[in-house]
């Protein structure tokens, strides 16, 4: 089976999506999925650095067990802003709305998503929601934590809860429309002959993510409406004074927010599969199992929310059920880690920056996943829940996992997106700095949790100081690591060397078209491969000699 991409003998056609108009107007009215992806990328990068600034200030404050640069109220507002921005305005849209938007139509061999105008609409809705959050911050912020637990958020907080909630409510519609668009695209626009089991795992992952977006987001939206109503009118079904149940809010909230974790991590898994198999020059080990695992995670991910309520006053029986189901959902995640490792076996491995990021992702996701086993256990969770152990655990999943994979994907597809190569050594350096900085920031937090330091503590007992300083030191390295890609990637947009269609020798359909792609993605219909990830390490080695 020939691995070479058939290049047309005709001269290269002119023009690509980036050259299709330079005015601001041409960008703001585009329905091209690739341009919308870039609109999202710019927007979420801004939010990433807003959320990151909040985190930096918090880590700075936590150097000292007593107040250092701010008061408790400011600190509480900062971690709320950090959570709200990072969860809803960075992580949820990160990979799906940027890489997903850019790549899904190309990976299925289509000209665009199924509903291009809806796609643009969803970006505007996202921006509108984001505006509300920024207004909230300007108007004084929120101090309830991103979880908005009642009755703190309804009766006792004096901050701008309603504005923030409205912002998240609006952004939710953006999520729903994006998910809807991908579902229809994958179902209806696949090129002839491109069956489900020929799709890259990235498409599987985004498809599964989209299902979660569509089914979970409306639950959050309505929960927030009930919350806002209760706050504005002073009563509601979460109101203990009337005999209502505050835990009901937690059930509703986590019915969305636990699957939301999978919204963040499933696309990351998709990216890792693409990158690892490409740089190992080997088909993904157990492709079908990997695809089923993605589907299983999406489905079972909806059945485990109660593990956030083990100590909240949920019945013991419910806790048993949710604890068991939480272990069940760990199985497909474990399969994925094992299969990525097995993909490396007998490969022909090179270590370009995307591969470094992807390997970093696997390692950090592994630790994040394994520490989840502690929190799924009733007896251990009753000790660790709401401590820094939990903070470390979910940062390993969301930052170590999703953000690492996001960077892996951005670097991997950067030549496709911009037509230029990023600077390789800078990128490798950044990958290593981020990996080290990340571990230094968050590993000490596991120990802090075991020592008994609760999360969301502004002041803490002095015996926790050493590990907090360590964590803050790591955070400064991490911040430097995150600044690097912004600098060198921006530089490479103008100065990076031009690349051809397929600099990596990768197999997805998106690599068959020009870089950057033409407006309608393909000049000639893409050739559909016999099977996905049709890499051959031996042939690769032979070619190198």
């Amino acid at each position: 089976m020939s691995t070479a991409i058939v290049e047309p003998a005709l001269p290269e056609p002119e023009g690509n999506y980036l050259e299709n108009g330079y005015s601001l107007r041409s960008w703001l009215t585009t329905t091209d999925h690739k341009r919308i992806a870039i609109l999202y990328a710019v927007t979420i990068t801004a939010f990433f650095f807003m959320g990151g600034t909040a985190a930096t200030l918090m880590r700075l404050e936590l150097i000292s067990p007593t107040p250092l640069i701010m008061g408790a109220e400011t600190y509480n507002k900062l971690f709320t802003a950090h959570g709200v921005i990072m969860v809803w305005f960075f992580l949820i849209p990160s990979i799906p709305a940027t890489l997903g938007n850019f790549l899904i139509p190309m990976m299925v061999g289509a000209k665009d998503v199924a509903l291009p105008r809806v796609n643009l609409l969803s970006w505007y809705i996202f921006v509108l929601g984001g505006m509300f959050v920024i207004v909230t911050l300007i108007a004084g912020g929120i101090d309830t934590g991103w979880t908005f637990y009642v009755p703190l958020s309804t009766r006792y907080s004096g901050t701008q809860v309603v504005y923030g909630v409205v912002g998240i409510f609006i952004a939710g519609f953006s999520s729903i429309l994006t998910g809807l668009n991908f579902i229809v695209t994958v179902h209806r626009l696949r090129a002839p002959g491109l069956t489900w089991f020929k799709l890259p795992l990235f498409v599987w992952a985004i498809y599964a993510t989209s299902i979660i977006l569509v089914l979970a987001t409306p639950v959050l939206a309505m929960t927030l409406v009930l919350l806002a109503m209760q706050r504005v009118f002073g009563l509601g079904i979460f109101d203990a004074l009337l005999g209502g149940d505050p835990i009901l809010f937690q059930h509703m909230f986590w019915f969305y927010s636990h699957p939301a974790v999978y919204i963040m991590v499933l696309p990351a898994m998709g990216v890792a599969s693409e990158v690892i198999s490409c740089f190992a020059r080997k088909p993904v080990f157990g492709y079908r199992t990997m695809a089923y695992a993605i589907a299983a995670i999406a489905a079972f991910g909806f059945m485990v929310w109660g593990h956030h309520l083990f100590v909240a006053g949920q019945s013991l029986y419910a806790s048993l059920v949710f604890s068991f189901l939480s272990y069940v959902v760990a199985i497909p995640s474990a399969i994925k880690v094992f299969n990525w490792t097995a993909t490396l076996y007998k490969g022909s491995i090179t270590f370009e920056a995307p591969m470094l990021y992807a390997l970093g992702f696997v390692g950090l996701f592994l630790i994040g996943g394994l520490t989840g086993l502690y929190l799924a256990s009733l007896a251990l969770d009753a000790n660790l829940s709401d401590t820094y152990f939990v903070v470390a655990h979910f940062h390993y999943i969301m930052v170590g996992g999703s953000v690492m994979a996001y960077f892996a994907g951005i670097h991997f597809w950067w030549p496709k997106i911009t037509g230029r190569m990023y600077p390789e050594s800078w990128s490798r350096l950044a990958a290593i700095v981020i990996f080290i900085g990340f571990n230094l920031t968050f590993f000490p937090q596991f120990i802090l949790g075991l020592e008994g330091m609760p999360r969301r503590y502004f002041e803490y007992a002095p015996q926790f100081q050493f590990l907090n300083i360590l964590s803050s030191a790591g955070a400064s390295i991490l911040a430097a690591g995150y600044a690097l890609p912004v600098l060198y990637l921006t530089w490479s947009i103008r100065h990076g060397p031009h690349v051809g269609r397929n600099p990596w020798g990768a197999k997805g359909l998106e690599w068959q078209t020009r870089s950057p792609p033409p407006v309608e993605n393909f000049d000639v219909p893409p050739r559909i491969p016999e099977r996905p990830y049709d890499y051959d390490p031996e042939a690769e080695e032979a070619k190198r000699k």
Partner: protein, 335 residues
């Protein structure tokens, strides 16, 4: 383990895990180290495998890269995958069962537990002992004695967390939650609020003093001679008119409260409910919600008419009736 005096500079070990001060905490430690052992092995295994593969199969290395042909490869990779589905699942089942059993067996406090009421509010802990002794941000308990905390919140959700006991429980408004422990190691242990409760969340800390029997008796004796909670509850019981219907000589058809605490009682809708602190509380505030079988809904609701303090006292009183008989004049057992 003593808490430092804030004035003197104290040096701390860089890392210090809390002691396990109860038998339950020791069992949790056991589970923790078992899970940690397995997870460490898995992490090392994956790390070693990945590093090895990355090195051995790096591009340009002269190694055998032939993969088995498609059919054989398929059945082999199926077997491999089946293994790494089955083995982790077995471990997960063990983790689940172990953690669940520990927690489940532990859930019911023993009958001889010393009952103490905890009321949380932004941002302090109020503790009331059965004998009426009150404390703020401190909790004194004797060693080797099961202690059962009945907890409620006056405002937002809080969480009673003592790392040395390896357990915590959220404290909710409008409801009682229970946490119990049997400390076997005397000492002073930090108590922290572990559910974000607003501005002063991180200041909502306290100390649990686990004292020897003698020290505890001395501490009890040193307190003011406040009337016991049950005694106060009996006064409240009369003031609020409860005794008019629930008293032994009452002609109004209301269920007697003697000897029922802790029992399962039938309700008018055919279900059963445990007659515990939560049920007493609900029945005072909203009697119509759960009517005892054979009785009608005649009792007025006391929601808004009684404070959390009144509720604590009334509950303590009804609880004190647990071992009395319906014919004895009420309050006598308190003398």
């Amino acid at each position: 383990m003593a808490l430092p005096n804030s004035a003197a500079p104290v040096s701390y070990p860089l890392v210090s895990l809390p002691v396990a001060a109860t038998p339950y905490a020791e069992k949790v430690e056991g589970l923790f180290w078992a899970v940690t052992g397995v997870c460490t092995l898995v992490t090392l295994g994956i790390a070693v495998a990945m590093t090895y593969f990355c090195f051995r199969y790096r591009s340009g290395a002269e190694v055998d890269r032939t993969l088995p042909d498609l059919a054989a490869g398929k059945s082999r990779s199926r077997r491999i995958e089946a293994t790494w589905i089955a083995v982790p699942f077995a471990f997960f089942l063990i983790f689940f069962a172990w953690g669940a059993k520990l927690y489940y067996v532990y859930d019911d406090p023993p009958d001889n537990a010393l009952q103490i009421f905890v009321t949380a509010k932004q941002w302090m802990w109020k503790v009331e002992h059965a004998d009426g002794r009150r404390e703020i941000n401190e909790l004194h308990v004797p060693v080797d004695q099961p202690v059962k905390l009945v907890m409620t919140s006056q405002d937002v959700i809080h969480d009673f967390y003592v790392p040395a006991f390896r357990e915590k429980r959220d404290i909710l408004p409008g409801r009682y939650t229970v946490l119990w422990f049997e400390p076997t190691l005397a000492g002073v242990y930090p108590l922290r609020c572990d559910e974000f409760c607003g501005t002063g969340h991180s200041m909502m800390t306290g100390r649990v003093y686990v004292m020897s029997r003698e020290a505890y008796s001395r501490w009890l004796a040193s307190g003011s001679q406040a009337p016991s909670l049950a005694r106060l509850g009996f006064d409240r019981f009369r003031e609020l008119g409860c005794s008019g219907c629930h008293g032994p000589s009452s002609r109004i058809h209301a269920p007697s409260l003697a000897g029922v605490y802790g029992q399962m009682v039938p309700l008018s809708d055919g279900s059963f409910v445990r007659f515990d602190d939560g049920y007493i509380r609900d029945s005072i505030l909203q009697p119509a919600r759960q009517i005892a079988a054979g009785y009608s809904n005649d009792m007025p609701p006391f929601a808004g008419r009684v404070s959390e303090q009144d509720l604590l006292e009334l509950t303590a009183y009804v609880r004190s009736l647990a071992n009395t008989s319906p014919n004895v004049p009420q309050g006598n057992h308190l003398q």
